[in-house]
């Protein structure tokens, strides 16, 4: 079962990414348990985790948020590829931090990035998905952590 400090590692990693990359911390909204279909925004960076814990962590964000984030990072390229790159990097960084916190036996895949509303998110049997809304400026994204 997911422990609080583990969940916090993912959450803090996410908010810290915003703080570090865009000099403006993200806040987290009211967390809840996922029921039914995953809530997906325009771009989703997914990382499969195996080893000590099995499951997925994904960061999904609307195009508008990523655009502003890129702007804050002084990017001028708002292309599709740039958006994909950004969510992938967020997901990768979050999980990398987690791996550092949890040790070597946390095996993390290279992020796969999906655009659109139907990504193939592998369901981990027996793992409930925690949805943590990530609010940044006027935008909202979601961090979903589903680990056994």
């Amino acid at each position: 079962m997911l422990r609080e400090e583990e969940l916090k590692t993912f959450v803090d990693g996410t908010t810290r990414y915003f703080e570090v990359a865009a000099q403006q911390p993200a806040t987290i909204g009211s967390p809840y348990l996922l029921e039914g279909e995953p809530a997906i925004h325009d771009y989703t960076g997914i990382i499969n985790i195996s080893g000590k814990r099995e499951g997925v962590v994904y960061f999904t964000a609307p195009r508008a948020m990523l655009t502003v984030l890129l702007m804050k990072m002084q990017e001028s390229d708002f292309s599709h590829d740039s958006m994909r790159d950004l969510v992938g990097e967020v997901a990768n960084t979050i999980s990398g931090n987690a791996r550092r916190d949890f040790g070597h036996d946390f095996v993390i895949s290279v992020p796969s990035v999906f655009a659109g509303d139907k990504p193939q998110i592998p369901q981990q049997p027996g793992a409930r998905a925690f949805v943590i809304p990530i609010h940044w400026r006027s935008h909202s994204a979601k961090l979903v952590v589903s680990l056994t």
Partner: protein, 702 residues
């Protein structure tokens, strides 16, 4: 190392001072001896020179005396001999003086020249022999020889008179020079002695100063050493130096003894120190890490984050005879010398309390898991009621999650959730307590406490709700576990596939038991029961899809119960069936029908049926009826006994029937739904249960 270096320098300095002192002293002595010899020779010569000075006057006087004797015709032999002695003495002494190298040659040369000029004049005088007088009877007079001799003497006297003063002056000059020379030698000797004394004094002073400084240095070094020792004995961290062979140096802090439970650190290899404490992989990585410090590529400040011994779990003697787990933090720093890295300083700290603090929560949760097992012992409660409760709880928690899911960004929005959460949780806790489900009640209570704690906060953020949602997840998992266990204990312990259906029958959505899954579960249970009890029967299910979802969970529990009863008590073994002329396999039929004003469930087996007498005997045996009451009971009422609480033959815990799962429970569940239950039987032919349930509108289901 440094202290001994200073020591060595001091010793070298002292030795050098001694050598210098000896050298100076021998120099003074040698020069002094030579000077003294020179002075002695000088003094002797001076004496000679002073004697020499008198010769010219003596020679002149003797010549005059000789001439006067000739004038008065006196005897001249003695005077002549004295003159000859004087001249030869002068020659001898002067010759000796001439050979003195130390004399001023110019002064001696002048005296020599002058004395040599005497020689031609003196020679005829000294060479004279014989009697200078010729005697007559009356008088004596100079003979012819005598007159010549007289003339020579007279000439020599005059020469001497003219040169005596000059010769004396020259000789005085020579002796003056000699005197000056001797005086200067004496002065030099005095100076030398003074210098010698001064040098000895200075060296003595220097030696004394050095000795003093050394004493002071040694004192300071001892004090420093003592302070170092005090620090190493007191500091709470372990400190030691590693050399290029990864061996521990001679100096280390006392804390190591406690940290590693040994004291033989000096010379111990780092690998040896950790071998029993860490995994070979970690040790390997750690050794590579330290090796990086000896290289010149890696920057110490840029590798702190990859230290593999940043938090090391080790097992050590607790000092009370047992083992305990401690967490150590190793830090490594280069110690630079002139030729590069000299040592690696390693510090070891015990960070156990920090680590344990962060793990407290985790352990608390481990304990919670252990409670699941404890809870199993308490599962004496009515399984159907439990099922109903679990359904209600799932619905309630679904609502809780819905409250959480409401978007919120600010304190006000977060705060608004708390009231609804409290109400929902409080009601759930009440139900759980009422059913004596303490493991559930405790969890809900904990959740309620967390919500109450949030209520008192002035500034709420999403972070504050993270523990809540985790706790909610844990509670849901617990409920899932309880449901699973309940099903296993009451009915499905035999079948893994049936247990699988229990999983699928326990989703988070309330009451969402699929009828298809129910059918599968019942069939596999039937197969399992038939196999386990050596019975041969077939299960036929009809119309279960008609069942409204609100009834399904209860119906499922009832059917499982009745199926089990039928398999254990109803259907006979093959032999019995053949003896009774029945068709080979037993039949169990379930028919569910929608009626005009409700629903009907028929459950029928073609087994042994119920014998009123057997039922009465059991009731008497259980103390439900007195033998008299039993005797007066008619058959119909006897059949009704099976719905009485505490009657069920399965009340006893047996492998066959589980526990607390009699028909009384089924009846109670049916009554709970507002339904009715009846039984009819024909001994040796069949047993039939009929359950009537009231109409229900699908949309009214929570």
């Amino acid at each position: 190392m440094q202290l001994s270096g200073i020591d060595r320098n001091r010793r070298l300095l002292t030795a050098a001072a001694g050598i210098v002192l000896a050298a100076v002293m021998s120099l003074v002595l040698i020069i002094g001896f030579r000077l003294a010899t020179q002075i002695r020779a000088g003094v002797a010569m001076l004496q000679q020179a002073s004697e020499l000075e008198t010769y010219p006057a003596v020679v002149a006087e003797q010549l005059t005396a000789l001439r006067q004797r000739l004038d008065t015709l006196e005897y001249t032999g003695r005077v002549h001999a004295e003159l000859a002695a004087s001249v030869s003495g002068f020659d001898r002494d002067f010759g000796a003086l001439e050979h003195q190298r130390t004399l001023d040659p110019a002064a001696v040369r002048a005296a020599t020249r002058l004395w040599r000029s005497y020689a031609p004049v003196l020679a005829p005088v000294l060479a004279y022999h014989g009697e200078p007088y010729s005697d007559t009877a009356t008088s004596s007079a100079l003979s012819r020889n005598g007159r010549v001799f007289y003339a020579h003497v007279r000439r020599a006297e005059l020469f001497a008179a003219g040169h005596t003063a000059a010769l004396h002056r020259e000789l005085a000059t020579v002796s003056g020079a000699l005197q000056a020379q001797t005086a200067s030698a004496a002065a030099r000797l005095r100076l030398l002695l003074s210098v010698g004394v001064l040098a000895v004094l200075l060296l003595g002073l220097a030696a004394a100063y050095l000795q003093l400084a050394r004493a002071r240095g040694e004192h300071a070094a001892r004090a420093a050493e003592e302070q170092t020792r005090d620090i190493l004995a007191t500091v709470r961290e372990g400190f030691f130096l590693l050399d290029a062979d990864y061996r521990i140096g001679a100096v280390w802090s006392q804390a190591l003894t406690h940290l590693f439970g040994r004291s033989d650190f000096a010379g111990l290899s780092f690998e040896e120190l950790l071998r029993d404490k860490v995994s070979p992989e970690t040790l390997n990585t750690a050794m590579k890490f330290i090796k990086l410090l000896w290289g010149d590529r890696a920057h110490e400040n840029l590798m702190k984050s990859i230290n593999p011994l940043g938090q090391l779990e080790v097992s050590m003697d607790s000092g009370r005879g047992g083992k305990e787990t401690r967490y150590l933090q190793f830090d490594f720093h280069r110690v630079m010398g002139p030729g590069g890295v000299k040592h690696v300083l390693c510090s070891v700290g015990d960070i156990t309390s920090t680590v344990l603090l962060t793990r407290e929560l985790h352990e608390a949760q481990e304990n919670a898991h252990a409670q699941v097992d404890m809870m199993l012992g308490m599962l004496h409660s009515d399984p159907l009621q439990l099922g109903a409760f679990l359904d209600g709880a799932a619905a309630s928690l679904k609502h809780v999650n819905a409250i959480l899911k409401e978007p919120a960004r600010h304190h006000g929005e977060f705060s608004k959730k708390l009231g609804g959460l409290t109400r929902e949780l409080h009601a759930l806790k009440g139900e759980a307590s009422a059913l004596n489900l303490m493991s559930i009640a405790q969890r809900v209570h904990h959740l309620e406490d967390m919500v109450a704690e949030l209520t008192s906060r002035s500034e709420l953020t999403g972070n504050d709700f993270l523990p809540l949602v985790l706790k909610l997840d844990e509670l849901l998992a617990h409920l899932r576990g309880v449901r699973e266990m309940t099903l296993r204990l009451t009915a499905l312990k035999e079948g893994p596939s049936a247990a699988g259906s229990a999983d699928s029958a326990a989703p988070s959505a309330a009451g969402a038991v699929g009828t298809g899954e129910l059918g599968t579960a019942l069939h596999s249970l039937a197969r399992k029961l038939a196999h386990d009890h050596g019975k041969d029967f077939q299960l036929t299910l009809n119309g279960l899809a008609e069942c409204p979802s609100a009834y399904l969970p209860t119906l499922k529990d009832c059917l499982i119960q009745m199926l089990r009863n039928a398999a254990v008590h109803g259907i006979e073994t093959d032999g019995v069936r053949r003896a009774g002329a029945k068709a080979g396999a037993g039949q169990v039929r379930v028919d569910f029908r929608r009626l005009q004003n409700g629903y009907e469930l028929l459950f029928e087996d073609d087994g042994a049926g119920l014998l009123p007498e057997t039922l009465k005997a059991a009731a008497v045996h259980k103390g439900i009826l007195s033998p008299e009451q039993a005797a007066s009971l008619d058959d119909r009422s006897a059949l009704g006994l099976i719905f009485k609480p505490g009657f069920s033959t399965s009340e006893q815990v047996t492998m066959d029937a589980g526990r607390g799962a009699g028909m009384d429970v089924v009846a109670k569940a049916v009554y709970g739904l507002g339904g009715k239950i009846g039984v009819s039987t024909h001994p040796g032919r069949f047993t039939r249960f009929k359950i009537a349930l009231p109409a229900i509108s699908e949309t009214a289901v929570a």
